[in-house]
Structures are given as structure tokens and as C-alpha cells.
């Protein structure tokens, strides 16, 4: 019974989002083509799943470090650089699997680079990761003539991990990697202590350096998953001026939503569910011709703000209803 309740609570967000968007689109002429509501078309499921997979990979990479008390700006640069390397390898060999292997390997190597500089340099994490972001971004201008990678995603044999059904593979692997790290490694379990109070954690015997190395290896693996999906869906051009952080943090909303939704189950499921819910909302807005520009930003901003407010006040809201219930009893 408890498990059923957990499942229902977890699924409530995307289901509610679907119902709300369905009601809105049913009442808008813009969504009807040849008498059919395009929100209910076959493309909806496909687009939501494809976009959610990318979001899940990046959001988990962000959350893994955040969970360990580190706000890492370099994840986006690592992802873009790994994507460029993977794209080049894939185009040279004609093999999607080579590209996948290179993406994962580079994701780990670049993340380890950040970890080493953080440990050896004894820098604050923000300074360290911004510095590494600038360094990695500069490399995007040096690798392979500074041209980035074009045409990988438009080569069907190479870009299958950006399309259904293979796009599910990196997303599922990213979730497994996250679960293994968080629940099956000592480092992952100790991460919460470091996040809450780093000094206290170190004083009770937690080796932070080991935690940093281990967490960056795992987040590197997840960044590799994100990189293969990214290169399979986009041309990748050289980046500068912390543009890669912008790419990375455009996927941050499901992280915070996911941690709240995940209270009913766990954070990895919460993030996946939040990503799906947000993509349903995006698709609905697209159907309403509000998928880009000012209105989309306003609607998204208001919704996210409302959600965060609700989640932060949920204790008080619950207490209020308890009180009313007690008063009526």
C-alpha cells in the first residue's frame, strides 16, 4: 500500500501537468489542425521522451556534485569538449560505439582534471570550476581546427543515441551510475555529511580528497552520457565566455524540482519524473505557439517560482491542513 502511494505521488506531477496542458490545448484553436488536437498527436510522446533523456543526463551530473556540496560550473565545458572529441572520433571511424566510448572516456578524464586542480590547488570550488570552464572552453577553439563538430547528428548511423529508442540507453545508464554511486559506494553515502558540514565531515574522519575523486569519476561518466546525447542532437561549435555553463544550467530546473518530487521515492526518480513533467509542459506551450520567446520565459519562470514556493512551504501547508482537520474533529 505504501509502495502504491509512493508511485502515485511520484507520478502526480507529470500526470497533473498532462491534464492541465490537455485542458488548455483543448480550449485553444491554435492546437487544432484538421480537427485534431496536436497535443495528443503521436509526436508528443516521442518528443517528450527524447528531450527528457538529455535533461536527465545533465541534471544528474549537476545533482551528483551538488549533493556533495559542490556547485560545479565546469560540467558544461567538459560535456561540450567530450562531445567534440566523441563527434570527431565517430566521424573518423564511422562508428557510433567508438563515439560513445570516447565521450565516456573524455567525460571522466576532463572531470578528473577538474578534481585534481581542486584538490592540488586548494581553491574554492567556484573559482576552480570557473577557471576550468574557461580552460576547457578555450580548448574547443584549438581542437580540430576550431571548427567544432558539424553533421554528426545528421548522419543517421552515427546519431542513433539522439533518437528513439537508443536515446534511452545513455539516460538509463546515467541513472544507474547515479544510483550505484549514491547508494552503493561509501563515498556516495558520506557525501551528504560533507554537503551539510564539510569541516565536521573531515573531522570525523571522512577523506574529502577521496570523496572528490570518486564523485568526479562518477559525474564524469554521467557527463559522458550527456555528451553522446548532445552530439547526437546538435552541431557543436566552439564556446567561450562561460557559454557552456549556460548550456549546463539550462537543465537545472528539474534538479530542484526532482529533489522535492523525489521525497516520495528517491532523488533519481524525482529528477526523471520532473524532467518528463517539464517536457510535457514545454510541448504543450509549443502547441500553443508559446514555445519560445518572452511568454515562454514568463510562464516557465512563474511556474518554477510557484513550484519552489510550494515545495519550501509544504511543511506549513501540511500543518495548516492538519490543524483544520483537528479543529473539525
Amino acid at each position: 500500500m505504501k509502495a502504491v502511494k509512493k508511485v502515485l505521488l511520484s507520478l502526480a506531477f507529470p500526470v497533473l501537468m498532462f491534464v492541465v496542458m490537455l485542458v488548455i490545448t483543448m480550449n485553444s484553436d491554435k492546437c487544432f489542425v484538421n480537427g485534431h488536437n496536436i497535443f495528443l498527436g503521436k509526436d508528443m510522446v516521442k518528443q517528450v521522451v527524447i528531450n527528457s533523456c538529455m535533461t536527465v543526463c545533465v541534471a544528474l551530473a549537476i545533482w551528483l556534485q551538488l549533493k556533495n556540496g559542490r556547485f560545479d560550473f565546469s560540467g558544461g565545458a567538459s560535456m561540450v569538449l567530450a562531445a567534440i572529441g566523441a563527434g570527431y572520433a565517430g566521424q573518423q571511424t564511422g562508428s557510433m560505439w567508438t563515439a560513445f566510448a570516447v565521450a565516456v572516456a573524455l567525460g571522466v578524464v576532463l572531470s578528473m582534471g577538474t578534481a585534481i586542480v581542486y584538490i592540488v590547488g586548494r581553491l574554492p570550488i567556484i573559482i576552480c570550476t570557473i577557471g576550468m570552464t574557461l580552460l576547457y572552453e578555450s580548448l574547443t577553439y584549438l581542437l580540430f581546427g576550431g571548427q567544432g563538430i558539424r553533421g554528426f547528428y545528421s548522419t543517421p548511423t552515427l546519431s542513433r543515441m539522439g533518437r528513439m529508442p537508443l536515446v534511452l540507453l545513455p539516460a538509463v545508464l546515467a541513472m544507474l551510475i547515479f544510483v550505484v554511486y549514491t547508494y552503493f559506494t561509501a563515498s556516495g553515502r558520506r557525501g551528504k555529511i560533507l554537503a551539510n558540514n564539510q569541516s565536521a565531515g573531515v573531522n570525523i574522519g571522512i577523506n574529502e580528497n577521496k570523496n572528490v575523486f570518486t564523485s568526479y569519476i562518477f559525474s564524469g561518466l554521467i557527463i559522458g552520457m550527456a555528451a553522446i546525447v548532445y552530439i547526437s542532437q546538435n552541431d557543436v561549435t566552439p564556446q567561450s565566455g562561460l557559454a557552456t555553463s549556460s548550456i549546463m544550467f539550462s537543465y537545472i530546473v528539474p534538479v530542484f524540482m526532482g529533489t522535492f518530487i523525489g521525497l516520495a521515492s528517491n532523488d533519481v526518480i524525482g529528477i526523471a519524473i520532473a524532467a518528463i513533467g517539464m517536457q510535457i509542459m514545454n510541448y504543450g506551450l509549443n502547441c500553443l505557439n508559446l514555445g519560445a520567446g518572452g511568454w515562454q520565459q514568463i510562464i516557465m519562470g512563474v511556474f518554477v517560482l510557484g513550484f519552489y514556493t510550494f515545495s519550501s512551504q509544504s511543511g506549513k501547508i501540511a500543518a495548516f491542513f492538519e490543524k483544520r482537520k483537528a479543529a473539525h474533529a
Binding site: 496536436i38 509526436d43 571548427q147 548522419t155 552541431d235 566552439p238 505557439n289 514555445g291 519560445a292 520567446g293
Partner: protein, 387 residues
């Protein structure tokens, strides 16, 4: 591309080459000059090809080039870039953005250097500050990326490409198309081109055996606010067989086609060429692309020659009184044969050996390099860069 047009273009190129060879007579050693060139992005086909072409000219024209990037939105940033270039000692600046032009010209006037445009119609200045900009003696004019907004023809060219496709594929012609454009406030010529295309189709349908349906331009669906095409575009145009993208289709339309899985079913006719199109162009690969179009990087000779003339204190006898904006003919790539030419072009390879003009040709276009050179000849050199 029609054969007659190709023959005409070849003849023009041949004639130009012949005349160039016959009249090279350098009257004086060019003065040492430094010219700043600011592109709209720091990398990409057009900047890379232009840089390669300019570097190939450096020794012959005795010019050192310095490169920078203008932004599309930040007037102050562009002004700062100009000030940096002036401080580094440039004699002139070629810019690709009409943003803060009057402020930039004030800086150039104060520094006694020249300013000119490339791949930009300077339409804001042309329509709102014509005298201040085009009447300014430090502004030398601009060469447009295609036709100027008051002289649009790209709609006709899209129509020609569509008809040529249908003639080649008479058994499966495209009979239903939709469009995509950037917002009218940013690129008014694209909306005009779309209207031109629709008018051409309507005229064609009067006598056509197989009429073509064009979905009317829907402001909410077909206007791209500098974001990729919406994934619901195909649901909203369920019958479309081809997208006529007057906006840059490779970056803004094609990715959505691929992610929606319609790239094998729907054709794309577009302006621009960002690289990688050849894999799925014409009869290759998924056959998605059926037209790309670009302006030759060699068209930078227009502002460059005018600037070098000024720096070398020379002038064409037929130089117009006020600065002008010059339309270019696009390279329209709409067949496998055109694609072969494109693949080996300067624009695609960024190899100056593939340029339409050698350094000697360009020197011969200048007033100091060739006393017989004319402004009309320079304009013709730019406007014959087409297949």
C-alpha cells in the same frame, strides 16, 4: 541551376579573368596598411573563408589584417571593439553589423580612419540615418549578403529552385510547401521574399497542370525568434512536403527535422550554408537539402578595394559622390552539379587557392594598382560571383 545561367556566369568569369591578366600594370607600390575586420561570429564558413582569402592578399596588397567579432545586440561592445582596433593602429575597419554605426563613425572620424561594411545591408542606417552614415566621408559603403531589402529577389530564386526540382522529379513533384522566416523587425527582406515566393507560385498555378499549395505564412508558427524551429511545426503543417526556409535553415530548421525524424520525408530549401549539408544534399544521403545559398567571401573586395584606394590617396574616376550599398548575387546551390562546385569552393574549403580572384586580380581592381580600374568594374566583380 539552369544551364544558360551557368554558361553566362562562366563567360563573365572568363572575360574578367582575361581582362585582369591583360591590364595588370601596378603604378606604385601600395602603402603599408593595417585593416581591422570584425565578423558577426568568430568562427564559421563565412569568417573562415574570408580570413583565408584576405591572408592570401596580404603580401600583394601590403596589408596586415586584424580580426575581431561584433555582437548582434550590444552597441557598446561593438564600439569598444572599434576603439581597441583604433588603438592598435588600424587604418580602416570593415564591419559586418549595423549596430551603433553612427557612434562607430564618430570614433573613426576622430581617429582619421575609414569604415566600410561587408555581408550587411546597413538597412537601419540606410533608412533612418542615410546622410549621417552614407553621406559621411569616412564611410565607404557596404556590400550586402545577397540583394538589398529594397531589391529583394531571393523569393524568385526559391521558386526557381522548386520548379527545377519538380522538373527533375516529374514523377514525384513537390506540391505542398511551407515556409520559415526570421522576424520582420530583424530581417524585413525575408518576409518580402516569402511574399514574393507566394506570388510566384500563385502566378505559376494559373497555368500549371500540377498546382503547388503554399501554407500561408503564420506569424506564430513560421516566424523563428532566433530559436530552432518548434517541434510542433510538422503537426501544424501536416501536409508539407518541403520547407522554404528564408531563415538560416541549417542551424534553425534542419536540427528539428532530424530530431522529429522527418528529414527523410520532407525537403529543405534554405539560405545559408553552415557546413555538413553535402552529406544529405540533392541525391545524397537522406536527400533532405535541395537548396543552399551563400554569398562568396570574395565579395569583401568591394569594401577592401575602396578602403585601400583611400589609404593610398587614389580614387576611381567614376567614384559615386556618396557611399553605396551593393547587392550581390548569391551562389544558389540546387543540384548535384552545383554541390560539386560548392564542395571545392573557397567558401567551403577556406582554401584561398579556390578563390575566384587571385591577389593580382584584386590589385588590378584598385585605382593605385591599375590606373584604368573603375568603380563599375569593382561592382561587376562583386556581382558576378554566382553559379
Amino acid at each position: 541551376m539552369k544551364t544558360s545561367k551557368k554558361i553566362m556566369a562562366l563567360a563573365l568569369t572568363g572575360a574578367l579573368a582575361a581582362s585582369s591578366v591583360s591590364v595588370v600594370s601596378v603604378s606604385a607600390e601600395p602603402k603599408k596598411a593595417t585593416i581591422g575586420v570584425c565578423f558577426y561570429q568568430d568562427t564559421g564558413k563565412a569568417p573562415n573563408a574570408t580570413k583565408a582569402f584576405l591572408e592570401s592578399l596580404a603580401d600583394t596588397l601590403n596589408v596586415e589584417f586584424k580580426y575581431g567579432t561584433f555582437t548582434q545586440t550590444d552597441e557598446a561592445a561593438n564600439l569598444t571593439k572599434v576603439q581597441e582596433l583604433i588603438a592598435s593602429g588600424v587604418d580602416g575597419i570593415i564591419g559586418t553589423m549595423d549596430l551603433g554605426t553612427q557612434s562607430i563613425l564618430s570614433e573613426c572620424e576622430a581617429a582619421g580612419i575609414y569604415y566600410a561594411g561587408y555581408l550587411c545591408d546597413f538597412d537601419t542606417s540606410y533608412t533612418t540615418a542615410y546622410d549621417d552614415v552614407f553621406g559621411n566621408s569616412n564611410f565607404l559603403g557596404t556590400v550586402v549578403d545577397g540583394h538589398a531589402p529594397d531589391d529583394v529577389n531571393i523569393g524568385d530564386q526559391f521558386f526557381d529552385s522548386l520548379i527545377e526540382y519538380n522538373e527533375r522529379n516529374a514523377d514525384a513533384p513537390l506540391t505542398h510547401v511551407s515556409m520559415a522566416v526570421f522576424p520582420v523587425w530583424a530581417f524585413p527582406a525575408q518576409t518580402t521574399a516569402a511574399e514574393q515566393f507566394v506570388a510566384d507560385v500563385e502566378e505559376y498555378n494559373k497555368t500549371a497542370e500540377t498546382p503547388i499549395t503554399v501554407d500561408p505564412l503564420d506569424e506564430e508558427v513560421d516566424v523563428l525568434n532566433f530559436a530552432p524551429l518548434d517541434s510542433t511545426y510538422f503537426s501544424k503543417h501536416p501536409d508539407t512536403q518541403a520547407i522554404m526556409s528564408f531563415a538560416a535553415g541549417t542551424s534553425f530548421v534542419y536540427p528539428t527535422m532530424v530530431s522529429a525524424g522527418v528529414d527523410s520525408d520532407i525537403k529543405l530549401f534554405t539560405t545559408g550554408a553552415d557546413g555538413g549539408e553535402e552529406t544529405n544534399f540533392g541525391s545524397a544521403g537522406t536527400q533532405t537539402y535541395q537548396q543552399i545559398a551563400f554569398t562568396g567571401a570574395e565579395s569583401i573586395v568591394y569594401p577592401l578595394v575602396l578602403m585601400l584606394n583611400k589609404i593610398n590617396d587614389t580614387e576611381f574616376a567614376d567614384m559615386p559622390e556618396k557611399a553605396e550599398r551593393i547587392s550581390t548575387e548569391l551562389y544558389i546551390v540546387n543540384s548535384d552539379e552545383d554541390m560539386e562546385l560548392y564542395v571545392n569552393s573557397l567558401y567551403n574549403t577556406a582554401d584561398a587557392a579556390n578563390a575566384a580572384y587571385t591577389p593580382e586580380d584584386v590589385l588590378n581592381m584598385t585605382a593605385f594598382g591599375n590606373p584604368d580600374a573603375t568603380y563599375a568594374g569593382l561592382v561587376e566583380a562583386v556581382q558576378t560571383l554566382t553559379y
